[in-house]
Amino acid sequence: MQIPYTVSLRPDTGLFNAKLGVWLFLASEVMLFGALFSSYVFLRVAAPEWPHGYDLLNVPLALLNTIVLISSSVTMVMSWASLMMKDFVKYKRYMGLTILCGLIFLVVKAFEYGEKFAVGITPADSTFMAIYFTLTGLHGLHVVGGIIVNTYFWGPGSKMWKREPERFTNRVEVAGLYWHFVDLVWIFLFPVLYLL
């Protein structure tokens, strides 16, 4: 017997397996980042003084990164829409752009970190810097993970389009859900760390 509902939708839930799976995974990710945000609040409330992010961090670079990441979210959803319109060439283009945006984000992030390390600022400096490096570092790892998955679907994984186009579209949709979540986390990280 084959495992049912890998492509088709189960009638009573209206979902295929992987979509439910990825949403559950994202639910756990909410709790992971939630715990770090909760720690941020907990430490900040207890602290006698808390610095302004914009005094210590590079806001223009972070703004650039915000724009890059939001753009990558749009190209991601466009790559899925291209597959829905059966346009594989466009899919390749948009997915390529998504991966490129992800890489740009990481490079900019590396510059930002480098700038800090160059003047001797490390996570050990203060609780603010500790939470800054931990949150952005963990988020960066999620970006790396997303890039790996997207590159697989852009390259070797895209062979599935010929054999099972519907299943491949589902896969890209699911990868997209993860990528948008990574964007979503940054949308909250940016003001919380840089602007407050």
Binding site: L9, T13, G14, L15, K19, L20, W23, L24, A27, V30, M31, G34, A35, F37, S38, V41, F42, V45, A46, Y54, V59, L63, T66, I67, I70, S71, S73, V74, M76, V77, M78, A81, M84, M85, K86, E166, T169, N170, E173, G176, L177, H180, F181, D183, L184, I187, F188, F190, P191, V192, Y194, L195, L196
Partner: protein
């Protein structure tokens, strides 16, 4: 979304571009507000308000939450309840100081 027609997808694409513009605009607004150097309370309120709108746009349109199945909503509501508990309860230990 397997049953969606090409026409509908084209409509979706127009929405995506509108959402993109809105996200960019809100990003500029939130950075601009930070240069006003509001008091901490107001700054947090405004920043989180804008971030919530942006987040809702991403979740609603890019992640298609605006038209998702009940089961997904149920899962997310459950998660949200525990998320709130995680955000509020540890810090509420400081309530004693407020009460005093």
């Amino acid at each position: 979304m397997s049953g969606t027609s090409v026409e509908e997808i084209k409509k979706h694409v127009r929405t995506y571009i509108l959402v993109f513009v809105a996200l960019m605009a809100l990003t500029i607004v939130t950075v601009a507000v930070s240069y006003l150097h509001l008091s901490v309370g107001w700054a947090i309120a405004v920043a989180l308000f804008i971030a919530t709108i942006k987040g809702s746009l991403v979740a609603g349109f890019f992640m298609h939450l605006i038209s998702e199945k009940k089961l997904i909503y149920a899962t997310l509501i459950l998660t949200f309840v525990f998320f709130i508990a995680l955000m509020i309860l540890p810090t509420s230990g400081y309530l004693d100081k407020v009460v005093k």
